[in-house]
């Protein structure tokens, strides 16, 4: 597939072609604009004073010397912050779950190394860091909770007073008659798996610049966020705390505000009545039982939002990656905004890499005990999973343990048929960084399922791919549904992906290679894994996770032809590496009949874009965001064609647009330009009008499905001298439906696979027994580089489903499949030496221990 220019010549349209990335020229020449590039005149710089111990009560904090230090203009402590802000509320509440409330800074207790206890604002970051060293804190140590087993140890101190020990959630869901299925099956294979803590590690860390208008006090916030509107609302909700009575008084007395807000609320409820009717309050009841103060804070937050007339403007431009981390709204985001509000001056904070590794977002630390019940002929009968998730100290917001455990619950069964399924989910808290969404946040469901299937295949002496295919749902079974609820339609094409991959990998040829290598003392292995993922999934997918939450998923693009004929598209998406500028231009250019360079995409500014609760995340950019662009520009074309038909004295049905030339079919030489039509239209409007045509379309997906699927396989060579693993071959067969831009899909798949390889061979956050983090620089947290990542071959299948806008998301799958395929290959390589892979993280020491080359160190906890 070769890259394509930005001018259409073939008549085939841009969608489906590897159009060169619009973003590249700007970004590769260093002309991108990131948060760190924004330095308003007179801006002040923030630095956080962070706890140096993992778990302690704060007996005393003395910031007097810091306040007197050179260049310091403001110090806010945790106690002061509590007076100025509302706490972070639980975002998604589940029955049997308790979500602790917490504030932007900690006041009386610290719960991890790096817990922010004060913010220092100074003339420079250097001076702020100097002042931080003058802050005196007396800690009264509490016992550190450094691991999942510590969390279940009742002799350890409790992180959250209102919890039951350090367990925040314990719940079992059962689908089918699990007990009789397990009693009836020929055999049960059980294994306990553990996955290490990982970190998203975007190239650009988090950061925020809060500018204060000296006249109006309006805030403009430039922030590295995946979700600009959510950030805007949360900052409005949590800052400027006032009593509920004061808020309500302001709301009641401001008629315009009241009318607008109620109208907006009514419109939302009307539009989403079906979804909202499914929601229940069982989770809120659980929360209230644990924390009676919760309704008070929730009321205050709601009243604060209602009473305020001015919400901040959030601006976000280029983002250097996020992988989920920048969908989080952080305590630092609130603290910096509060500092700016208090000072009436602009304040900037750029997270440094040490801060980012300590608490910029962590993920995946889970223990999973999995049992598969199956018959001797290989028929899958039942599946049981017992998950324990270590959510760290503070809940991820808005996406944290609540949401991620529920996606895992729905997805464990994968693309296979089961008679019964049961999952027990426990969430514990420890003195570690916060657990957040990381590319394919539920990915360990695939890892443990595909691992236990390989282990079962070995027990049955069956080929692991035969065993998978024997039990896999195929087109003949459709329509059907997962045992956990969501509908499976033709887009769930895992079977086709795996069948194709088996062909690509040529297992007999590999076995011959393996035997030849063994003659030379070399050790090879081959591993497969496959999955389907919601991209964005059928409507009942969100209901299976959390009934009613589908209400948050729609999106409105606003499309415009300017007075000068140029086309602008305003999207609530927040691109951070996904190439929206290119793919949306491809979609829009095809609808409008213009070239790629005629389209300008505008994003990030909440004053200019429509509300979206999510922004970019959840594999929605292609199908949902792209759909709103498609149908928006289609409406826009109708408006242009109607005006042009008037001008050309032709029927609107005869109007064609090619390469920006609007003409009657067959007579392109007498066409009009967009500028001419736009000028004519603007001439009819009020003077000063800048927009000739405008169309906004709300889009919720095409309604009947949307799964992306893939099968991954890799060949590994394990060096038994050094424990190093190389990957001579890696193949992905993926199916995200019709492809907008193959080169961009390849990039997404390869980037995801690279992170999945990182998860197995390189990336492990490490805490010692006292919960001190040991991986605080890139010398110790190893992100793979181009040198470590092999060639990755990709085969695209493009299964179509009925109807238009059949695109499916593809950003997450690479990361979901890779750890499973790679660990399966490593076990395959070492199986003859009796090795069984139960950990996701396999550094060289672990490889040689598994292979029996070395013994574990005495007293080692590895």
């Amino acid at each position: 597939m070769t890259s394509t220019d930005h001018t259409q010549t073939s008549g085939l349209g841009f969608v489906g072609q590897s159009v060169k990335r619009v973003e590249d020229d700007r970004l590769l020449r260093g002309h991108g604009s990131y948060v760190a590039d924004v330095t308003p005149e007179g801006v002040l710089h923030a630095h956080f004073v962070r706890s140096t111990v993992a778990h302690a009560n704060i007996a005393r904090i003395d910031v007097a010397a810091a306040r007197r230090a050179p260049g310091v203009v403001k110090v806010i402590t945790g106690a002061e912050m509590k007076e100025l802000t509302n706490p972070f509320p639980p975002f998604m509440m589940l029955p049997n779950m308790y979500t602790p409330l917490y504030w932007a800074l900690s006041d009386d207790k610290v719960r991890l190394v790096g817990d922010p206890v004060a913010i220092i604002v100074a003339e420079s970051r250097y001076l702020a860091e100097d002042a931080a060293q003058l802050v005196e804190i007396d800690y009264e140590p509490l016992t550190p909770v450094a691991s999942i087993s510590d969390a279940f140890n009742s002799s350890k101190d409790q992180l959250w007073e209102k919890a039951d020990g350090n367990v925040l959630f314990d719940n079992t869901d059962t689908f089918g008659d699990i007990d009789s299925v397990f009693a009836d099956a020929d055999r049960i294979v059980t294994e306990r798996f553990s996955c290490q803590r990982q970190s998203n590690q975007p190239m650009e860390t988090r950061g925020t610049v809060v500018e204060v208008d000296p006249e109006s006090q309006h805030l403009t916030i430039t922030n590295a966020t995946q979700s600009s509107h959510a950030l805007r609302w949360i900052i409005a909700a949590l800052t400027g705390k006032q009593s509920t009575a004061t808020s309500l008084k302001s709301f009641v007395t401001n008629k315009e505000r009241r009318t607008n807000l109620l109208a907006g609320l009514k419109a939302f409820v009307d539009e989403h009545s079906e979804d909202l009717a499914k929601a229940d309050n069982a989770g809120a009841v659980s929360q209230f039982k644990k924390d009676k103060s919760f309704p008070l804070h929730l009321n205050r937050i709601s009243a604060n939002l209602a009473g305020k007339t001015d919400y901040p403007t959030v601006v976000a431009q280029d983002i250097g990656g996020g992988f989920g981390a920048k969908g989080s709204i952080a305590r630092e985001d609130i603290a910096v905004a509060v500092a700016a509000i208090e000072l009436g001056r602009s304040v900037k904070w750029i997270e440094d890499r040490v801060e980012n590794l300590i608490d910029g977002g962590q993920a995946r630390e889970e223990d999973l005990t999995v049992s598969i019940a199956l018959d001797n002929d290989g028929t899958f009968r039942g599946l049981k999973v017992d998950l324990i998730m270590d959510q760290g100290a503070y809940p991820g917001f808005p996406i944290g343990a609540a949401f991620i455990t529920q996606v895992m619950k729905v997805m464990y069964p994968g693309s296979y048929k089961w008679d019964a399924f049961q999952v027990t989910t426990k969430v514990v808290c420890t003195n570690k960084g916060k657990y957040i969404a990381y590319r394919g946040p539920w990915a360990n469901e695939t890892w443990v399922r595909e691992r236990i299937i390989d282990i079962a295949a070995r027990a049955l002496r069956m080929s692991p791919t035969d065993l998978r295919l024997k039990n896999m749902i195929g087109e003949a079974d459709m329509p059907t549904e997962m045992i956990t609820g969501p509908t499976l339609d033709v887009t769930m094409s895992t079977r086709k992906c795996l069948e194709r991959l088996v062909y690509e990998m040529d297992v007999p040829a590999f076995e011959a290679k393996r035997a030849a290598a063994a003659e030379e003392g070399r050790v090879l292995g081959l591993g497969f894994a496959c999955f389907h993922e919601a991209a964005p999934g059928p409507p009942n997918y969100m209901d299976a996770i959390n009934p009613g939450s589908g209400a948050a998923s729609d999106e409105k693009a606003r499309t415009v032809v300017q007075a000068d004929g140029s086309v602008k598209i305003y999207t609530p998406q927040m691109p951070h590496g996904q190439s929206h500028e290119t793919t949306y231009a491809q979609i829009a250019a095809d609808e409008l009949g213009v070239n790629i360079d005629d389209i300008e995409l505008i994003w990030g500014n909440t004053d200019k874009t429509n509300f979206s609760a999510i922004g970019t995340g959840g594999s929605r950019g292609g199908p949902i965001g792209g759909g709103s662009v498609k149908y928006g520009t289609r409406e826009l074309r109708k408006l242009i064609a109607a005006k042009a038909a008037d001008m050309l004295e032709a029927s609107v049905d005869d109007i064609e647009i090619t390469g920006g030339n609007i003409h009657v079919a067959g007579v392109p030489s007498r066409g009009l330009s967009f500028a001419e039509v736009a000028q004519a239209k603007v001439g009819e409007s009020a003077p000063g009008a800048t927009e000739a045509f405008e169309a906004t379309v709300n889009y919720r997906g095409k309604g009947d499905g949307g799964w992306s699927c893939a099968a991954h396989a890799c060949v590994v060579e394990v060096d038994l001298d050094t424990g190093l693993v190389s990957i001579p071959r890696y193949v992905v067969v993926e199916d995200c439906g019709p492809i907008i831009n193959p080169a961009i899909v390849d990039g997404q798949v390869r980037g995801g696979v690279a992170q999945g390889i990182g998860a197995v061979l390189y990336e492990g956050l490490s805490y010692d027994a006292d919960a001190n983090i040991q991986t605080t620089t890139y010398m110790d947290y190893l992100v793979p580089t181009a040198m470590e990542i092999p060639e990755i071959d990709i085969v695209h299948l493009e299964t179509l489903s009925p109807g238009e806008n059949d695109f499916r998301g593809v950003g997450e799958g690479g990361m979901i499949g890779a750890p499973a395929a790679l660990t399966n290959a490593i076990e395959d390589a070492l199986a003859s030496r009796g090795a069984r892979v139960t950990k996701q993280y396999l550094p060289p020491t672990t490889i040689l221990e598994m292979a029996g080359v070395i013994d574990p160190d005495p007293n080692s906890d590895r």
């Binding site: 860091e129 490490s766 040198m787």
Partner: protein
């Protein structure tokens, strides 16, 4: 991650550098390539109050050819310059062997060879090369110049025999014999990382037998270390796979590397043995012997 305040001094001559060290050496650090010093300062890990920049001192950037057939590297010779130097390749080939393993190219462009030796990171390549070649440290202070043999230079983790008022101006590598074969081998988790374990080794041959051997390991202790028992076991024997395996076995049982998050004690001990075999085999091949 911004460095704390410090006083910056730029030395324009060797005598000025020595004078500054005499005054500020106790609370000061020498800045040459800055590849280790500056990150340490940004992390505020025991940062110096005075930084004495020697980058403008003339004549320290030269690779000198010594009368005895060896080479001397001045304190401002960058890794990249040593890597490219034909003189170094000819007269001190073990340095050339080590260079590709030092960090990444960008680091080698700024970092200095002598700076790496003075910094004495036990996982770095050059301190071990100094041990394996029997290099001599030349240190200058207001009290004059003194020489320190490599074997007496590395005292502990990031600690050397240099006094606070001394500047390591040159490191002298002795003449390399035509009967010597050398190799630097290491294993790191990623390209360019510090080694999990590494070896700088040398074997001298006369006729069919090893007459001398040096096995200097890095990344296995608080300083680079030689393993005399394994070296002695090689001497007098022909350079065969069996002899190398015996040395490797002695290495594995002698060393007790510290465990960290990247590798256990047993792993590093095993790896040191593997590197012994690999290193000696490569070293022998450099003088045309295949073992």
């Amino acid at each position: 991650m911004k460095n704390p305040p410090f006083v910056y001094h730029q030395a324009h001559s060797l005598s000025e550098a020595i004078e500054l060290l005499a005054t500020y050496g106790e609370d000061g650090k020498v800045l040459a390539g800055g590849q280790s010093l500056l990150p340490t300062m940004a992390l505020r890990l025991g940062p110096p109050e005075h930084v004495i920049d020697i980058s403008a001192v003339p004549d320290l950037d030269t690779i000198g050819l010594d009368a005895d057939g060896g080479v001397s590297l001045g304190a401002l010779v960058r890794h990249a310059e040593a890597e490219r130097s034909d003189d170094v390749r000819r007269l001190a080939p073990l340095i050339s062997e080590a260079m590709p393993h030092v960090g990444h190219r960008a680091i080698r462009t700024r970092g200095t060879v002598v700076g790496s030796i003075a910094h004495a990171d036990p996982a770095a390549e050059m301190p071990a090369v100094c041990l394996a070649t029997g290099a001599t440290m030349i240190a200058a202070s207001s009290q004059g110049e003194r020489t320190i043999p490599a074997a007496e230079f590395f005292d502990g983790y990031l600690t050397t025999a240099l006094r606070p008022d001394e500047l390591l101006t040159h490191v002298k590598f002795p003449a390399w014999s035509a009967q010597s074969g050398g190799a630097v081998v290491e294993v790191s988790r990623r390209h360019g990382d510090y080694a999990l374990a590494g070896l700088a080794c040398r074997v001298d041959l006369s006729g069919d037998a090893v007459t001398d051997a040096a096995l200097a390991f890095f990344g296995v202790d608080s300083t680079p270390v030689r393993v005399p028992e394994a070296e002695a076991a090689l001497v007098g024997k022909p350079p065969t796979a069996e002899a190398f395996a015996e040395a490797a076995s002695i290495v594995s049982t002698t060393l007790t590397p510290t465990a960290d998050i990247h590798g256990s004690t047993n792993y590093r001990r095993h790896l040191a043995g593997v590197l012994t075999t690999r290193g000696l085999k490569t070293a022998a091949s450099r003088i045309g012997v295949s073992a």
